[in-house]
């Protein structure tokens, strides 16, 4: 199973949802789905009873409401709405909640996941399962048609078989499969970390589950048998199976609409710097176009099915001619979507083919802009041709010729595409890997499907051949020879990226040839059947078609064997295939410049796009600068570190800032840091000490950092540092608003303007713990004393040591309380010593030495024990004022208690003014 490296381990969002086991969600599904279903039944019963409707039981009404609610019950149970509901109810939510993001085990694929890569994989696997069901239905059809007469199914069941086959293949396989493949690769291709709306994306995927289950379940409650087109009024005669289909297809349809909105917003707003529209890979163009088609078109099919459903269940008369409805209206509404749907099922495949042909021909796509514009042209024209499905329907006669003209015009951009693809492989260096075999096979089969499409675009030939096997041949040449071939090409092409494993090339080639031969042997003879006069959608046929039908049925088994091979190859390779390198095909687009599979947010840093996506054969040309390492197995040589500027002065040696740098470094482990310490009018030696300490700590963490003290103000120092190297971001540490001089001077805003880059402000509270500096490179000195603390002599000594090497200090002020610790006397003593210790800490911090401290009630030897046990110092420095016998006499005891820690005794010079301290 694939896993995404958790490169995002350390980051500090607070309101993450608690992690719950997988069973939690599925238990919720287990009770919520039936509960919602039951609620639907109760609601209808209640309403019907209250309004006195007769009869109380009307199966279709109950099923309509109950299945609709059951679908929502499932989605609620699996957790699609949890975050939104919390937000709507005013509960605390984290807008950057990533707790549902990414996969570290197989379990992450069986719950709501917001990672586009996980969702992409979920889509591909689920829709392929639907494909298997659709294929089983197809084989049932071929079994029945193997010889004339009725063998296995009656007319009603047969009608159900082909209707269900088509609906599964269209709504549950081709459309969502393309959405799934694009879900995986499209955000990476444009250099984004994810889709624009990850939670909506998850909802889109999970909606397919209830939708698919309803459609698959419909045969068990009475087939929907009016064909996938569900023409009224025949569809209105149907039973519960039709209801399930019409509710199920709404889930699939809205899934598709949500995904389309997601793609559009993602492509419009989340492209990496430099990714202009003319640098977008053609797959991105294709999906942008398709998404626009879906957003404009799919609501029409939703509407047509709702109207149909209302006619059946609610007694409306949209399409009931006997009640003033219009039968033809259904077809207009339906095809207004369903013709564009043909392009929804084809254009993403065009995108895949462009990628595959360029990569395996080692040549730029021929006529990139023409291909992109042809895609858009097909989509736009696609809205003006719907009535070519209705040439014999009895619609207004005059519509036929205009629609014929627009229809054949579409052949022009389609032709441009085919010729441009031929131009792409011409004089290339063709590598016949499996995706390439499928792409080349596609060129052949799609050409046949396209040409028969021109035949069918003309009215007289449609009149002769519509509703025959000629149509069946045509749509299968387009949807299998077109869509399914491109889907196979796409799955093979990105399999290494998605799973991190290589598939078996030999099996892949076998699978292609079996499928290619099986497909053509199945579908090509159907042209003959149709021209000869065999109508489609019939279980029984004339004796003279017997031989050809038998050949077709036998040939279709080749595709079954091929699919079994495919499943074996995919599953086996996923589990134990050889590890895939980052870029097995030496592709140029961004998805090949990240690891296989990509890390959780795809890119370590934002990539910078610097050229077109297909610049094969051009010396030194590149599509994007991606900061990827060579040491993790990538064969990329574009590794280069990016610099973050850190600006701080007193706040430099603080826990918060060091933690912020560590966090940044953990997120994007190819950052380096340059630290600018502005020290105009300040103690430059202190600044230098802080810098050295921080650098020592960061070096120990393996974080690449360097720094410099500038004799400049903060903004000037930052600007100067930024002018010396290109920076990609900045971190500024200040005190909080009340105590910060910088904030009073508006330094952060001025800096933001001057640097013109992403700037993070860290607020530091003074006097916090300095565990951040618990590093080997930083000497830890514990100072034990009482009267000797806060003397200039001691400060000078510590500064001297700090200048020799990074140093941190813990001050243990030994109060020397004897007797009970609760007396007023003891309290006064404690306070007094505490003040002295605090003063020392303040002086140390000012001097650029990180320091913390503690008051110890007892005497110096006790403090030494505390030091040895809790602070693990490198050195204990006993500081005594000259003549301070309590300390001086205790030095030996201190040594004893300190154990292996070295102890030095420092006597503060008498001349130095020590703070008066009565004893």
């Amino acid at each position: 199973m694939s896993s995404h490296a958790p490169a995002h381990a350390a980051h500090g969002h607070d309101a993450h949802s608690p992690s719950v086991p997988l069973s939690y969600w599925w238990k919720r599904v287990g009770w919520m789905t039936p509960a919602f279903f039951a609620a639907g039944l109760v609601i209808v019963w209640f309403v019907r009873a209250v309004f006195g409707m007769d009869p109380l039981w009307n199966a279709e009404v109950y099923y309509t409401v109950a299945t609709l609610l059951a679908g929502f019950g499932f989605l609620t149970g699996i957790g699609c709405f949890d975050w939104w509901l919390k937000y709507a109810m005013g509960r605390k939510v984290d807008f950057h909640d990533h707790s549902f993001h990414g996969a570290t085990s197989w379990k992450a694929y069986f719950r709501v996941n917001t990672d586009h890569k996980v969702i992409g994989t979920q889509y591909v696997v689920l829709t392929f399962i639907f494909f298997i069901f659709g294929g089983l239905f197809a084989e049932a059809i071929r079994a029945e048609l193997a010889e004339p007469g009725q063998q296995f199914v009656n007319g009603e069941q047969y009608n159900g078989l082909f209707s269900t086959h088509a609906v599964i293949m269209i709504f549950l396989f081709v459309i969502p499969m393309f959405a799934g493949l694009a879900n995986y690769v499209l955000p990476i291709m444009i250099g984004a970390k994810d889709m624009a709306f990850p939670r909506l994306n998850a909802l889109s995927f999970w909606m397919l589950v209830p939708g698919g289950v309803m459609i698959l379940a419909s045969p068990f409650v009475g087939y929907f048998s009016a064909g996938w087109t569900q023409y009224a009024p025949l569809a209105i005669q149907g039973g519960t199976g039709v209801t399930l289909f019409q509710i199920g297809v709404q889930f699939a349809g809205f899934s598709s609409i949500f995904t389309a909105i997601n793609f559009l917003v993602t492509i419009a707003t989340m492209r990496a710097p430099g990714m202009t529209v003319w640098r977008m890979p053609l797959l991105v163009w294709a999906n942008a176009t398709t998404s626009a088609l879906v957003v404009f078109g799919t609501p029409f099919v939703a509407a047509s099915q709702f109207m149909n459903l209302f006619d059946r269940v609610m007694g409306t008369n949209f399409f009931d001619a006997t009640q003033g409805g219009d039968v033809i209206a259904y077809q207009h509404i339906f095809w207004f979507y369903s013709h564009p749907a043909v392009y929804i099922m084809m254009i993403p495949g065009f995108g895949i083919i462009s990628e595959v042909l360029a990569t395996f021909s080692r040549k730029p796509v021929f006529g990139y802009r023409a291909l992109a514009m042809a895609t858009v042209a097909i989509a736009v024209l696609g809205f003006g041709v719907w009535a070519h499905h209705m040439f014999t329907s009895g619609m207004a006669d005059w519509l036929r010729v205009p629609m014929m003209i627009t229809t054949v015009i579409i052949a022009v951009p389609t032709g441009i595409k085919v010729f441009s693809w031929l131009g792409t492989i011409w004089r290339g260096k063709l590598h016949l890997k499996t995706p390439m075999l499928y792409a080349l096979g596609f060129l052949f089969t799609f050409t046949i499907g396209g040409l028969s499409g021109v035949f069918l675009g003309t009215v007289p030939i449609t009149i002769a051949t519509t509703d025959t096997y000629f149509i069946v041949a045509h749509i299968h040449y387009v949807f299998v020879g077109g869509s399914a071939f491109t889907i196979f090409a796409g799955i093979y092409y990105w399999f290494p990226k998605m799973t991190g494993r290589m598939y078996n090339e030999r099996l892949g080639a076998w699978q292609f040839w079996l499928f290619f031969i099986g497909f053509n042997a199945t579908m090509y003879p159907m042209h003959w059947l149709g021209l000869q006069g065999m109508p489609r959608r019939v279980a029984d046929y004339d004796e003279r078609f017997a031989e050809v039908n038998l050949v077709i049925s036998v040939a279709s088994i080749l595709m079954v064997i091929s699919t079994l091979l495919f499943i074996y190859n995919m599953v086996n390779s996923w589990i134990r295939g050889p590890k895939a390198p980052w870029n097995p095909w030496r592709g140029r687009s961004l998805e090949w410049l990240v690891s296989s599979p990509p890390s959780i947010f795809n890119f370590e840093t934002d990539p910078l796009v610097v050229g077109g996506p297909y610049q094969y054969g051009i010396e030194g040309a590149r599509h994007a600068v991606v900061y990827a390492p060579t040491e993790v197995g990538g064969e990329l040589t574009e590794a280069e570190k990016r610099t973050i500027l850190v600006v701080a002065h007193e706040t430099l040696a603080s826990q918060q800032l060091v933690d912020a740098i560590r966090r940044k470094a953990a997120e994007e482990h190819y950052w380096r840091f340059t630290i600018a310490v502005p020290a105009a009018d300040r103690d430059k030696r202190a600044a230098e000490r802080r810098l050295q300490t921080v650098l020592a700590v960061l070096a120990e963490d393996g974080i690449d950092a360097s720094g410099q003290v500038y004799d400049l103000g903060p903004v000037e120092a930052a600007t100067k540092a930024a002018s010396e190297e290109t920076i990609q971001g900045a971190i500024v540490a200040t005190y909080s608003k009340d105590s910060s001089r910088w904030l009073k001077q508006d330094v952060v805003d001025r800096m933001r303007k001057s640097l013109r880059s992403d700037l993070t402000q860290i607020v530091v509270t003074p006097g916090e713990v300095v565990e951040a500096f618990d590093a080997k490179g930083v000497q830890h000195v514990v100072v034990i004393g009482r009267d000797g603390l806060s003397s200039q002599g001691l400060m000078a000594e510590l500064e001297r040591r700090a200048d020799q090497g990074p140093l941190r200090v813990t001050v243990l002020a030994a109060a020397g309380i004897e007797g009970p610790a609760w007396t007023d006397e003891a309290n006064a003593l404690r306070e007094d010593v505490g003040e002295r210790a605090g003063e020392t800490l303040g002086l140390l911090l000012l001097a650029g030495i990180p320091a913390e401290g503690e008051v110890i009630d007892r005497d110096a030897p006790a403090a030494a024990r505390v030091a040895a046990e809790s602070y693990s110092p490198d050195l204990i420095l006993v500081a005594s004022a000259r003549g301070e016998s309590a300390i001086e006499n205790a030095v030996e005891a201190v040594r004893e208690n300190a154990g292996i820690v070295e102890v030095e005794h420092f006597i503060v010079d008498a001349e130095a003014p020590a703070a008066p301290m009565g004893s």
Binding site: L234, S420, K429, V454, A464, D467, G617
Partner: protein
């Protein structure tokens, strides 16, 4: 795009692929019996389009096969192909030539459509009713109803069609004509049979359980035989009406007809 190195093999491949394409067009009997004037025009258009399509099909297939044969990378060859990004002249050519041919196709299609739907003054009018799962033909002028469509040869027929339940589609493969029969509206279909014979009438639009068996016959007769049948049927209707004056005219009247079939 072409130079001497490529010309020879490409020509050879074109011959081979072209020969196969032409051969399958001739060897296979693609079209069924043709029994109407409309069928002749449609078949002509169909073959015209086939030859235009064949040119494109052969072109694409030949280039495809040649590329696979000639430009396949040698094992271990990791170099790239030449960075050709496009060729404006070529792109204009392969936009304009198909556009021109498609315009020709459209014009021809319009001509065929107009010819096929032009009505003649002396046409025979028959009313057709489609219902699950039978066809009923009514001859309104004489009050005859028949399960078969009986029509004279070489005279245009106009069918005025209605459906009583769901959509059906009236299709005579031998005439190459088809028209949906739709509840709530009346649709028309005209055709001119030019060959005596019995032809299949098929329901082409899925209409329910019995869709597959919703078939009948179109019997094209010599004008004399047609007149004879018509007279006999009319006589029978009158006789039936005399026997049972309340029975609706023409109920099942056509089935028992003794007229010979072409």
């Amino acid at each position: 795009m072409l130079n001497s190195r490529h010309t020879g093999p490409l020509a050879l491949l074109t011959l081979v692929v072209g020969a196969i394409t032409v051969a399958q067009a001739f060897v296979i009997d693609w079209l069924p019996e043709q029994a109407g004037e409309e069928a002749a025009r449609i078949d002509w258009l169909l073959w015209f389009m086939f030859w235009v399509s064949a040119v494109f099909f052969v072109l694409v297939t030949v280039v495809l096969l040649y590329c696979v044969w000639a430009f396949r990378a040698k094992p271990g060859d990791e170099t790239d192909g030449p960075p050709i990004h496009g060729n404006t002249r070529l792109e204009v050519v392969w936009t304009l030539i198909p556009a021109f041919l498609l315009a020709v196709v459209v014009v021809l299609a319009i001509v065929v459509l107009e010819d096929n739907e032009a009505t003649a003054a002396d046409r025979v009018k028959v009313e057709v009713i489609g219902e699950q799962f039978v066809w009923r033909m009514q001859y309104p002028e004489i009050g005859v109803e028949s399960g078969d469509l009986r029509i004279p040869v070489d005279r245009q027929v106009e069918l005025t069609m209605r459906a009583s339940d769901v959509i059906h589609s009236f299709w005579v493969p031998a005439m190459r004509v088809k028209q949906d029969v739709v509840p709530g509206i009346t649709t028309d279909l005209v055709f001119t049979p030019d060959k005596v014979g019995t032809y299949e009438v098929v329901c082409a639009e899925v209409c329910g359980v019995g869709h597959g068996v919703m078939r009948t016959r179109a019997i094209v007769m010599e004008p004399d035989a047609y007149a004879e049948w018509l007279a006999a049927a009319q006589a029978k209707v009158r006789a039936d009406a005399d026997q049972a004056p309340t029975a609706p005219a023409g109920d099942g009247g056509g089935d028992a007809e003794p007229a010979e079939e072409g």
